[in-house]
Subunit: 370 residues, 4 copies
Amino acid sequence: MKNSFGTNLQITVFGESHGPCIGIVLDGLPAGFSIDEKQIEHDMELRKPKGKTGTQRHEEDTIHIVSGFFNGYTTGSPLTILIENKAQRSKDYAPLKYRLRPSHADWSAFEKYHGYQDYRGGGHFSGRLTAPIVAAGSICKQILNQKGVKIATHLEALYTLEDDAFSTKAEELDQQIDLLNEKQFPTLNEKKGEEMKTAIEQAALEKDSVGGILESAITHFPAGIGEPFFDSLESLLAHALFSIPAVKGVSFGLGFDFAAKKGSEANDALYAHDGRIETTSNNNAGINGGISNGMPILIHTVIKPTASIFKAQKSVEYDTKENIELTIEGRHDPCIAHRARIVVDSMIAFTLLDAWMSKAAKEEFEEETL
Amino acid sequence: MKNSFGTNLQITVFGESHGPCIGIVLDGLPAGFSIDEKQIEHDMELRKPKGKTGTQRHEEDTIHIVSGFFNGYTTGSPLTILIENKAQRSKDYAPLKYRLRPSHADWSAFEKYHGYQDYRGGGHFSGRLTAPIVAAGSICKQILNQKGVKIATHLEALYTLEDDAFSTKAEELDQQIDLLNEKQFPTLNEKKGEEMKTAIEQAALEKDSVGGILESAITHFPAGIGEPFFDSLESLLAHALFSIPAVKGVSFGLGFDFAAKKGSEANDALYAHDGRIETTSNNNAGINGGISNGMPILIHTVIKPTASIFKAQKSVEYDTKENIELTIEGRHDPCIAHRARIVVDSMIAFTLLDAWMSKAAKEEFEEETL
Amino acid sequence: MKNSFGTNLQITVFGESHGPCIGIVLDGLPAGFSIDEKQIEHDMELRKPKGKTGTQRHEEDTIHIVSGFFNGYTTGSPLTILIENKAQRSKDYAPLKYRLRPSHADWSAFEKYHGYQDYRGGGHFSGRLTAPIVAAGSICKQILNQKGVKIATHLEALYTLEDDAFSTKAEELDQQIDLLNEKQFPTLNEKKGEEMKTAIEQAALEKDSVGGILESAITHFPAGIGEPFFDSLESLLAHALFSIPAVKGVSFGLGFDFAAKKGSEANDALYAHDGRIETTSNNNAGINGGISNGMPILIHTVIKPTASIFKAQKSVEYDTKENIELTIEGRHDPCIAHRARIVVDSMIAFTLLDAWMSKAAKEEFEEETL
Amino acid sequence: MKNSFGTNLQITVFGESHGPCIGIVLDGLPAGFSIDEKQIEHDMELRKPKGKTGTQRHEEDTIHIVSGFFNGYTTGSPLTILIENKAQRSKDYAPLKYRLRPSHADWSAFEKYHGYQDYRGGGHFSGRLTAPIVAAGSICKQILNQKGVKIATHLEALYTLEDDAFSTKAEELDQQIDLLNEKQFPTLNEKKGEEMKTAIEQAALEKDSVGGILESAITHFPAGIGEPFFDSLESLLAHALFSIPAVKGVSFGLGFDFAAKKGSEANDALYAHDGRIETTSNNNAGINGGISNGMPILIHTVIKPTASIFKAQKSVEYDTKENIELTIEGRHDPCIAHRARIVVDSMIAFTLLDAWMSKAAKEEFEEETL
């Protein structure tokens, strides 16, 4: 699948950081869905670097829908979005080609592409490729929203700082989601948000970078979606999230804290009220046996500190195999965790919509007995 | 893909806990590969419950290769493995059908299958389905072994106990891998292993269960394998690992500890010696930009405490929506983390072999210039 | 995909002619569908060789559903069917290994599998693999039948003999379909059927074989299913049909006769009556732009004469590259066109059900405006 | 897969006849392959309408490679080609929306997309979408050419006229292929070509259209490529070819003429010379058991007469269900068979390159014993 992903719904991303444009094809969308382009712009805005917490490369990121959209509605044909690269710097990248940036894809790209990769600004590995993903994800999110599903992500942790937790009360959680979706810097606790921004700016001053953990909440997603094995919701969501550059860990609910729990602590007790089943806790994050149970889905995604830092680093020249000291110049983010939140939302929205469509595929043929 | 997974190599699992047999089809294997059936038996043995740390359901798990294997070699046709279910208990499961076991797939299965699922012993959701996965994974591992690749997994943590860490020295790590593959209870530190066994037995005595974290190491896997986006090695491996029942988190290298690091601490400095590139640290666990760089791949997988416990739990009857107190009877594991280690190895072996074949697909057409 | 096929519904075939069993996994079926095993047996019977028109290898072909079927209903988990091979002849095939049978897969199999293929009785290339396909297809056909869809195939031509044509009247066509599905030898015209049987027996007497053309009709298949490009109904159906051994051509409606037509003759004029649209002719066989329009789908499939004949033939020994005269012994069919009819029905049923499920996948999300 | 196709190599087409641009993403290409853009232009030229035998809509069809191509070489990242639509006529298509053109996709598109489809000039169903396919196919063909593979297609039949046959001698066939690839109107026999052109012009004068049959020859394609079942070379090629608008039949070698043959006539006798195996005839067209044997691959593809004709036709208005007489205006081709030849070449080149890569995927792991 390489640069495509999905079953009934499929995305295909293309482009490089310094090429004329980047883009995405979103295939398999239902016809007749009204798209609010303003909402896409809103989501694109949340991905943009702001002030001192982001890169100084400022792209307009105007989206051009060139197919699959007609008279304000999806047509059912592949919907293609193009975004021009405008703020490339016309410097000569050739001398940098062989100077490997530590923990970047420079080295592994050489091993894979034998030197033919477009190395300018990270090429196809660039975080810029997440811009069309946000545009496509915004469309998927709009469809899910119309069905009542809500999605948002906050900065659960940044460097050593922690945000407040999501509420365990359904209504409060919905309110938190709505609020987060209006915030440029995604914390539940405003004060913690300010501290985090300061920490990012501090890292920038130190010519360094910091990482963070994102926590996503999805509410009102229907029960019964996902598969027992290879298309478990966790498998699909993790597959999607690990395709975002800099993601090195994904967990659900209690996640790695499950290890130190006993079953009696970890299990989510069930109770029924008004003919409806719920669980008292939600350690399993709305997914059992790979299938949604209707409770909120909660996902943790760790974003490593930006590999590009201004500090001098030990490295190697690929062609000569000479040991060098490397100082990276140019424009880059001292932290991408906060900007990644909307990319995470987008990959989640895409994945859940596709999974839902896979369930819908069978329903026409199924009998209900209960 | 549901019950199938893979691109050039594909597995398809089928069967239920109380059906006549379970099995797997492994399609896309190269022809002419010699399989050591004794090695498969060895790996199957590592999955079996032993003593008081595992379930009292003891299955022989004799494997029957019914296709794709001829005169001791793979034929290139689909290789199918059947394993009979012999130790089902012939009790009447019908009265239990609607009594939802907390944190099991019972509830979500009702939402998905509307009561038609085979509910006996977990049906298709049962951990028994991992038996054929181990058999298929053993074959993949044998192919990788022949190419020099080594894979093993240890119990990094069990409940509140921790094993020693993998060595950061290449040779020592290889030795640790070899040793682990001979151990029924997979710890690097023998004494810690004994303590962990005791902790599991203690949980059993308390009618409870415990979870754990598995850490896998893969050495000598070639550089240049994986894809920048949706087929990043992390995406593929996480997809595979999250399909194992009870897995709730997957991370690579520093994993969630990346969050509290600065870039200058997290980045892996490069150095060259004897014309070969390596990194001084390996926080990124051998993968940059989704592509292997030749350093060891290190993966953490959290296994939640077994959902089946003997303690009474609050639950619901699905059909009547009545609140009940449920006491689960029968046979189950007080911990599955140690048994899961070989399942994890198997899914990793399958995934890495498939990814390697995808790289090989292009090599005939590529020129090397460097 | 190799030995798997399908999107929302997937089949995976495995096994060899002389292995212990052959089988199929049918994944993605809706849950709660009642399967009539007698109907599967009925369809299996139509595939069996009878009298002098078929091979003397007589297999019971008893089907064993080992998963995905519980209390008389599909569970939604992979449904697996095993069929034992019982009538293998225990002769030593090794001396025949390198003696290439003309127009068989012997030669190309050597090129692909380098001698590791199971060469006994055609191995994985054997027509026996179509037995599990018929069983799985029968299940798909039962689902389609319940939705009102009818499918049948007749022997449009056998050697130089031709059957009557399908009726162009809807009701008559439905009656013909029902009649064909009860006939062991599938012709509309009984007398022509007898002549064809005689032609097959004559070919057998001459130590030779004959080919034929199958025409399939599908009625009451809903409009709006299929895709403009790579999943056009014609693409999907042809993909499925060309996977049947001995098929060398597939066409729809006028097929190759379209070439010598003018547009004004070939186009199907539209007319409306009682608020319903139909076409006066059906040259396009119910498919426009890759999408069904609700008219009957009509497909022609040519089956080449059985490659195995008793006449001596010029050939080569693969290992020595020596020119030889080869006389094939053993049991084989003087014609397989009539037996293939139910295989063709099965592949069509599978493909159309999968395509329908792909449409259903979107419908939950679509608005109707007309 | 809808608008994507392929396994190791994948194409994704997008765009509509009257949108701003159409395009294609070609993913999975090997890195480091030099592309001759002039050769792409050459192939694009062969698709263009010329004189009175084609539509009066003249598009420049300048290709823009916007990703995956750097410094004259493929990078290994998705290669994306955009082609602007420039010659749309700015008329108001709305009044035509419901007036169904017979044997077009208008009707079935309404059934599928409920009126949301872009109906202008055929929208996503337009033959214009074959322009990016030719560009992508040209790249695949260049890779195959470098490996020694030759591909060309001639107009085997047009209306009632027939071209000469391909030579059965290897060297002559190669020469014919080379010649055809330089010809705008693809016949082996010049005089027949002139007669065919006249027939097309005559059809245009009569406000009508004609169909034709294309025969493709592929030489020097390696043996051992393809799969026994669902990825048989015939399945893959037919899948690809039936996705081309107006294709209604595909056959290989003797094709539908196999029916009236005896096995002894149809089988291709084998002989060895100089340690190499060949067949004396090539009725099976280089494919046995779904796998190439090294002989030329020969494919017949029937193209129906253009559905758009200027003659008045009986039709229906979709919304009112009123019977109407429809006269189609605008620009269209009296025949598309000759233009389709390069589209056919392109789909073949893509499919064969992908199949080859799938074989290469295994080769690193296979032992050769013969």
